[in-house]
Symmetry: C2
Subunit: 431 residues, 2 copies
């Protein structure tokens, strides 16, 4: 299974990689001179990354290290400025330079990124530099009400038809799927994820559910359709809300599901269940207490809640490039940080499950489908867009594979709620 | 099930409660005068507790409130000093005064304590007082190496035969059992707990296991006997170590299990599995980073670990009386605090399960057995000892029932370990 997926990545990635991107798309060897300083910078960069088994290919064809040794990938640099930029802020500039075609990766892009995450992650020099860069250059975007709208618009309003090309075609879930066995199709695994969430929440017909951040509305529909609950879902992405309303109307569930184009901070009413799948990443570190206040305000005395979010093993800023280009305002929290939602209101955490490898698997599906539509996407947008999304998807597979990113599902309830199942076996009698 | 257990508590508790304890064991009405100040203090105390449905009976038979209204319990105060002390530091003095027989509870002790926890917990006045008292009077005991030995000796070296009277008779587990269905016997549920832990850790024959805090050695024996692993278990309770060694010898498992009388901070060697069930409560807030260092030092690259501990929904000091008389140095952490063990070393939390109601159920079993042996225990120790343990066990049932205490099992591994099961279904195919 892994082998096939890798092969397809190899095929679809290496061809554009070796024929070049939008910028600097000349032949692999260029005539511009390689100086002593350039070679020093390339060696310095390898050293900074913790000396991984990589070969750097400079713009004149020269390789660093010069002696051939087995390497996971050959990384082509198109010009000298690339090296300068990478030495100053590798996390930020790698993405932009790759998107612009000024860096090419010959070999499996995911494997290369897994290696880079692992070696850089254990390189003290790299960690030191990253911390300094984070402090100096890369302040997180705010997530005040108006900023959140801009941040969300940036990512989710690219166009529903773009996401339709590579997300599951049933429920348009842009969040980690659940693979009780890894050979499920993406559609099966997204259905399994929604059911896993519903079972954890022990939905009963008639329950009033509020959803914070509903994407294209698939989970709300699934809950209403299969569990007989009434759902009110909040989202500030205009395009997603339109799409979701249309889907609910078409499914004849307009009475059970209400999509509200508003911020989670404006949730009102009382609910038996609070659910949020894939929104916390956008909430921002400073707003966890406010999110907890919202939940406390809207949850009934015996209410249950579930938050599903990308997370970290330890507090750490999002990769600078992802934060700048892909998810402005994004921040995946460590569990210690996430507790700011629950502890001030004495919520009781019942169950935390880490689905890290499920997200790697989900992303492999997305990546494969994305590559199958890469030409179509390039025609509509441009090559830099395709390369940026390729890097983002491959980098995410790598992050979840290398263990720098986690996926937490946190189930909680109010402190005094004793109406709890004795075991979690009820989640597994369907598997 | 609950009803029967409550009835047996009622019978066994009310008789001594109404005939009096060691101190102040006169008739319910005493001739000493009740002043205006005494009445004011009694009303103040009710107010402080958030005005729960209780009747206070003063030493002359007078009741507060004076008008009869339905109440969960009648609380008898033997003398005026009791009221003064309770107003100054209720959390600390209630236990001592109850143990001395100067307070009696007429009605179900557990029900009374659940009510007190719930109403005091939501009374702002009580919370304010408690915080002030905690700051002023009740500094936590240190858990430096030598202090830890004293603290553990205080509780665990009371005498193995005392614990044999009311713990499960198979494995002497002085930690929360696991009730996949609540009607299991205590012995079945303790076995189920040990298996639940072993399955979470995915023990394989030949695995090297290190255990921090092994009690009377039951889990180590179970692991060796049923999972074919080699276990090295650390404990600083001399009596427990002697007991555990004798049990291993008798079971013919002396070669597979080694009991080391030493502190967890002195663990050495490399292990595939780290396990600690019921020790973290004694480690103390300041030592979590040190515990994480120990685990990091001893865990193999693909190692797994599990910590099972009493915890809290939010950071909060242990009840002052429990901390002073029962568990010196004890501190049950909130999850945010517990993360100090894992985050500095990039450990990946895989699964957290909250078994709160399982501990209430476990304690109900212990409490019932304890009461069956109360006379025998009183003969060996004294009435104050029995009353203190009665209050501690009943108070613990109440804490886990009211939701002021939690029980967390945290499963973790190293960040780069991808040898993980796709689902948790393997834990439940036996239930």
């Amino acid at each position: 299974m892994e082998k096939d997926a890798q092969k397809s990545r190899l095929t679809s990635l290496n061809i554009p990689a070796l024929t070049g991107g939008r910028v600097g798309s000349g032949p692999l060897s260029s005539s511009s001179r390689v100086s002593v300083l350039d070679r020093w910078m390339a060696r310095k960069l390898l050293d900074l990354l913790g000396d991984p088994p990589l070969t750097f290919v400079l713009w004149n064809g020269e390789t660093i290290p010069s002696v051939d040794k087995p390497s996971v990938a050959r990384v082509h640099f198109r010009d000298g400025e690339v090296l300068q930029k990478l030495l100053v802020n590798p996390a930020l500039h790698f993405g932009d330079l790759y998107s612009a075609g000024r860096i090419e990766v010959e070999g499996d892009l995911v494997e290369f990124l897994v290696l880079a995450y692992r070696t850089a992650g254990s390189s003290p020099k790299y960690q030191k530099l990253k911390e300094a860069q984070t402090r100096l250059f890369n302040r997180p975007r705010s997530n005040r009400l108006t900023d959140s709208r801009d941040n969300i618009h940036h990512h989710y309003d690219i166009g529903n038809d773009f996401y339709e090309l590579w997300l599951d075609c049933e429920a348009m879930q842009y969040t980690c799927a659940y693979f009780p066995t890894p050979d499920l199709t993406l559609e099966q695994a997204q259905r399994a994820k929604m059911d896993h969430v519903c079972r954890k929440l022990q939905l009963k017909p008639g329950d009033r559910v509020v959803e914070a951040g509903c994407g294209w509305g698939g989970l709300a529909l699934h809950m209403a359709q299969h569990y007989g609950v009434r759902v009110r879902s909040y989202n500030i992405s205009h395009q997603q809300i339109l799409y979701a309303r249309e889907r609910a109307r078409a499914a004849g569930l307009g009475d059970s599901v209400e999509y509200v184009e508003d911020d989670y901070r404006n949730i009102s009413g009382e609910f038996d269940v609070f659910v949020s799948v894939g929104m916390l990443e956008h909430v921002g570190r400073d707003n966890y207490v406010a999110l907890g206040d919202v939940i406390n305000r809207c949850l009934a005395p015996h209410g249950r809640g579930l938050i599903h979010s990308i997370g970290r093993n330890k507090p750490e800023r999002l990769n600078a490039w992802i934060e700048k280009r892909i998810f402005p305002g994004g921040y995946p929290p460590a569990l210690s940080e996430m507790m700011d939602i629950f502890e001030p209101h004495d919520f009781s955490v019942l169950d935390i499950e880490n689905l890290r490898l499920h997200y790697a698997r989900t992303l492999e599906h997305w990546f494969e489908r994305f590559e199958q539509s890469a030409e179509k996407i390039e025609k509509k947008y441009d090559s830099a867009f395709v390369r940026a999304w390729r890097l983002y998807l491959a980098g995410s597979i790598a992050g979840f594979t290398a263990g720098t990113m986690q996926l937490f599902q946190v189930l909680f309830t109010r402190a005094a709620n004793n109406d709890l199942p004795w075991s979690r076996a009820h989640l597994y009698k369907f598997e």
